[in-house]
């Protein structure tokens, strides 16, 4: 506690004082807003639970994309801003496969197989894009100042957007609805849509798969070694280029899978621009959880999803702010600021050594 409030020490600092006042104000606003909303009782308990579960599902998708950011950052200390477009590449390409599977009736006759096929296809498309991105755009810049690959990533993001616009057009597409995911599960007074359970469970399976890969497999050990110290890893006989390429590939596969899972959850809005906002949100989630940390990205994604779903109605509406739902992003980014004020390294992050750079 004494660490939290620094201004009562001998050396008074206006900066610390302002930050502490800001902390108190934000916490106060959250408490007062929530108290007002809950005491009004306009939204029922079942509705809160529904919002929470919808937030978890949305957060699972953020988490899957965030893992790509965090994997690449962990190994290269680089923010791959084109990762949102890697997600789009898989989601947009697979919508055509989904349409074909729906037309032939296979999607609803063999839904499990069809969804697995779509996830595999989207994963492979995104993986290919991510690998090409690393090989063509980032590898030649390795070793250059950090700003260079960052700007390149932004350029690559635009390049990918307009390449896919050229390929598939500027209109919107939608994933067909899968009948077995249309129902809902009744638990007491709470009605949980099946598709939200599917999203959460699939994301968990993929996240645990990744965790196993990184923590238990041989290549995972190599990834961790490269992340710790590239030069020492090279001396131990690890092919650094291959490990980095593999890391991009894994991040890409997860993003592509997220594209299909997102397509089942929010079927509409598939177009060349669809990766932009989820990309930014996932990056936020990765920072929130502690960039470079895999469980952190998962937790950050889920946390962001839930905060976005519940925050506007719980806090902002309670403070009497009009158009509360339009300020959803304000809530999300305020939480980011709040977490970073209290824990600059993110929820599960560690202070990273500059040696990695």
């Amino acid at each position: 506690m004494s660490q939290m409030f620094k201004w009562n020490t001998d050396e008074f600092s206006w900066v610390d004082f302002t930050i502490d006042v800001l902390r108190i104000l934000i916490v106060l606003a959250i408490v007062v807003g929530s108290w007002n909303t809950l005491s009004e009782g306009r939204i029922s308990f079942a509705q809160w639970v529904n919002l929470f579960i919808a937030g978890l599902s949305q957060g699972s998708i953020y988490a899957l994309i965030a893992l790509g950011y965090t994997l690449v950052y962990g190994i290269l200390l680089m923010i791959n801003f084109a990762h949102g477009e890697v997600f789009m590449a898989g989601a947009f390409s697979t919508v055509f496969l989904a349409e074909a599977l729906n037309r032939t009736g296979f999607l609803n006759q063999q839904p499990v197989l069809a969804i697995l096929l779509m996830i595999l296809f989207a994963g492979l498309v995104s993986m290919t894009v991510a690998i090409l991105l690393e090989r063509i755009a980032y590898r030649p810049l390795r070793g250059s100042p950090r700003l260079v690959p960052l700007i390149t990533a932004i350029g690559a993001s635009f390049f990918l957007q307009y390449t896919f616009r050229g390929l598939y057009g500027s209109g919107f597409k939608a994933y067909p609805q899968v009948k077995i995911l249309q129902g809902s599960l009744q638990v007491g007074s709470i009605n949980i849509p099946t598709v939200q359970i599917f999203v959460f469970v699939s994301a968990l399976v993929l996240m645990f798969g990744l965790y196993w890969l990184v923590e238990r497999s041989r290549i995972g050990k190599a990834m961790r070694a490269v992340s710790e110290n590239k030069e020492v890893a090279r001396l131990m006989g690890i092919d650094i280029d291959w490990v980095i390429l593999f890391t991009f590939g894994v991040g890409g596969f997860l993003a592509g899978s997220a594209g299909v899972i997102n397509g089942m959850f929010r079927p509409q809005g598939v177009n060349f621009f669809m990766g932009f906002i989820p990309g930014i949100k996932a990056f936020t989630a990765a920072v929130l959880g502690g960039i470079g940390n895999i469980p952190g990205a998962m937790l950050g994604g889920l946390f962001l999803g839930v905060i976005e779903a519940i925050g506007p109605n719980l806090v902002l509406a309670g403070l009497g702010i009009p158009g509360a739902n339009q300020l959803k992003d304000v809530i999300a980014f305020t939480m980011l600021v709040l977490v970073l004020i209290f824990r600059p390294q993110g929820i599960l992050g560690e202070r990273l050594s500059e040696k990695k750079a």
Partner: protein, 420 residues
């Protein structure tokens, strides 16, 4: 050195004497002129949304502009028509940048655009200051033709549009909800864009004036995919009507997710012209059935011909509902240039900028695809050239969702049921 200066002065004097009536002298227009040499093309600009999530609107208008030029054989007054296209995005900054680029070119006579009202707000001051004209094919925000700054108006000379005014659309939509559907409570949702916000405002005001109760007025962000939060809030009030003039894909998400929210089972959605896109029912799926969408109603043989030409040229159908408005806007501009351009002795062409404005403003019963266009000059309709009757309420049916039918059947035609 002195000799060189003297020779230059002599040369200048001689050139003046040999050219007693230059093109510059032939210009007496108070805003200046576009002066074209003998072999120069007539250039028109287009400020359309060519990137970002609503690119389909720009593609739709660009097709209309190109077809209007092609239908004139690509020529005007024996000169080639050159089209300079700039991306105005769907934002004020985008409109501003596009207008800056076009106004920097002294050969451009005027521009078609913008698509989004927000972009028009950025572009209009620059176009107006440059003495140019802009004719918008799909802006509907009431503020753009309103001259009263105190009430939020932003109209400036040189701005015209062939799309309908949101004021008219909003009022008709509210009348439809009260008088035709017999509903009593309303919720509105916009996304902060002047277009959606303006429409939501007019609908709410008219609905209240007609005796209805506005129970919720809220907003989402462009780019939001999760509507559960706002839908839960709306469900608290269980309104008869949810007026949602959002663009794709937000409107799709809203409609699709509404069916999962308890308390909104009987709420009817009315969408604005932004949802009048073939992709809306197709992408929304079953949840789109029964939704009303107000949109442009363009009919007639000439329009059918345009659709055939579109198919021939682009191999598909237009991606949105404002291509005919873009076609009309282009013709309005080209006809004005045709009417005011004056040839010079040296084979050049002088086109007065104020003269173009005056010619467009004087448009009366111009036969367009969207009806007979008459440009008004009185606020809050200053610069409005749309007939105002080319509007209808359409109901999305199974045919639009499952059988690719477009446009949906007209449920209520505003031209046949006009109120004062």
């Amino acid at each position: 050195m002195k000799k060189t200066i003297a020779s230059l002065l002599l040369l200048s004097l001689l050139s003046l004497l040999l050219n007693p009536v230059s093109a510059q002298d032939a210009c007496s227009d108070q805003l200046g002129c576009v002066i074209l040499a003998e072999d120069e093309p007539i250039a028109i600009g287009a400020m359309l949304v060519l990137s970002g999530a609503v690119t389909y609107l720009g593609d739709d208008s660009l097709g209309g502009v190109e077809l209007a030029i092609m239908d004139r054989g690509g020529e005007l007054l024996g000169r080639e028509i050159e089209l300079v296209v700039e991306d105005s995005l769907c934002s004020a900054e985008g409109g501003q940048a596009a207008a800056q680029r076009l106004s920097a070119d002294p050969t451009i006579v005027g521009a078609i655009g913008t698509n989004c009202s927000s972009a028009a707000q950025g572009a209009m001051p620059i176009i107006s200051d440059a003495g140019m004209v802009m004719i918008a094919p799909s802006n509907t925000s009431p503020s753009l033709t309103n001259e009263d700054v105190a009430s939020g108006g932003s109209h400036l000379p040189g701005y015209f549009r062939t799309s309908h005014n949101g004021l008219v659309e909003g009022m008709r939509n509210a009348e439809f909800a009260i008088q035709v559907l017999g509903t009593r409570t309303l919720a509105t949702v916009h996304d902060g864009d002047p277009y959606t916000e303006g429409l939501a405002r007019v609908v709410a005001d008219t609905f209240a004036e007609l005796g209805g109760e506005v129970v919720f007025e809220g907003a989402v962000n462009k780019g939001d995919t999760d509507m559960a939060s706002i839908l839960t809030e709306i469900a608290v009030y269980q309104p008869d009507i949810a007026y949602v003039p959002l663009f794709e894909p937000e409107v799709n998400f809203f409609a699709a997710q509404m069916k999962h929210i308890a308390g909104l089972e009987d709420t009817v959605i009315i969408g604005g012209g932004a949802a009048f896109v073939a992709g809306f029912p197709e992408n929304t799926g079953e949840a789109a059935i029964g939704i009303f969408v107000s949109g442009p109603l363009v009919t007639g043989e000439a329009y059918e011909q345009l659709l055939l030409r579109w198919e021939e040229e682009y191999g598909s159908s237009p991606p949105s509902g404002y291509h005919a408005h873009a076609y009309d806007a282009t013709n309005l501009l080209l006809s004005a240039v045709e009417a005011v351009a004056a040839p010079t002795d040296d084979g050049g062409l002088v086109i007065g900028r104020q003269a173009i404005r005056d010619a467009i403003a004087a448009t009366e019963n111009y036969p367009g695809l969207t009806g007979n266009l008459t440009c008004q000059d009185v606020s809050p309709f200053a610069g409005d050239c749309a007939p105002g009757t080319a509007l209808a309420m359409f109901e999305i049916t199974e045919a639009e969702v499952y059988d690719d039918n477009w446009p949906p059947p007209v449920f209520w035609s505003f031209s046949e049921n006009l109120s004062e």
